[in-house]
């Protein structure tokens, strides 16, 4: 049987547009958020070269470093289109967990957890604002 669909309220068109936003815009925003976080974590571990290993004050950031291994261990890992992780690869810097959590001799310097806490609100707010802006255009 033939039928004719009339989208009087424009709802169907709006739903299709919203789906396009979801498909294209959300992955781009996730990329943006992951890159922001990545840059912040890199900043945390980009302390001055310190060959003696005796840090000038353990509480301050950036972290003084003996080698570039911790800095180079920071990577973005893609889990799906809408999920990206900022990680420190243990295969590059096996000491990463002890720098992050601290040891009996060394204060914890949470080079991933702290940036996540600090950047959470601005990143989520930006993503929310951008999506709202696009939805308002419909």
């Amino acid at each position: 049987m033939n039928h004719v669909e009339v989208d009087i309220s424009g709802l169907q068109r709006k739903l299709k547009e919203a789906q396009k936003i979801n498909d294209k815009m959300v992955p781009a925003l996730v990329d943006w958020g992951a890159n922001k976080l990545y840059a912040e974590v890199k900043r945390y571990v980009s302390g001055p070269y310190n060959p003696t290993g005796v840090g000038p004050g353990t509480g301050g950031v950036p972290i003084p470093r003996v080698s570039k291994r911790l800095f180079n261990s920071i990577k973005i890992e893609k889990k799906s289109k809408t999920e990206k992780w900022v990680i420190s690869k243990g295969s590059i810097a096996p000491h990463n967990v002890f720098v992050h959590e601290g040891t009996r001799r060394m204060m914890a310097r949470r080079f991933i957890a702290d940036p996540v806490e600090i950047m959470r609100q601005p990143i989520l707010k930006h993503i929310e604002d951008e999506i709202k802006k696009e939805l308002q255009k419909l």
Binding site: V97, I118, Q121
Partner: protein, 162 residues
Amino acid sequence: MIRANYYKEDIQRVIWTLLEDLAGDTFPYNKCEIKFNYPDFDVTRKLEKPVVYVQAPLNVEKSYHFGGETGLGWSMITGIWADRTSGHEPIVNAFVSSAINFFSNPQTLNQRTFTIKLGTTTYADTTLINMGVYIEDVEDSGDIVTEEIHDIRKEIKLYLRS
């Protein structure tokens, strides 16, 4: 009240003083040594009794209200560290459970009084809420990796508003 120019230190000191006060009369806090900041090596080297450490808060949120008044959100780590071979594991577990219960129960939390000195002012028999610190949430961060295999270390994360 905590001072606007000393937010970080004052919030840390308020929580530390509250735990110190609990250590005077309440189990399991009275079995622990309460340390302001990450414990020094001379403390962790011996670990004669479980060490509770209160770290500085991290500013994680800003909110603006009418009239330009700003509210600040903070996250703050409090942990406990002990030597498993000394038989302190039950105290560590009791501390985590007790702290989560204490900080997530506003009725008892805001009745607990303590005395604190911030700058040159001493506040006697004050409460957390009177000092302008509000606990929003408390989260169990679980076990923390330790270098020494005999060590046991756990942390909780407090979300506060000032």
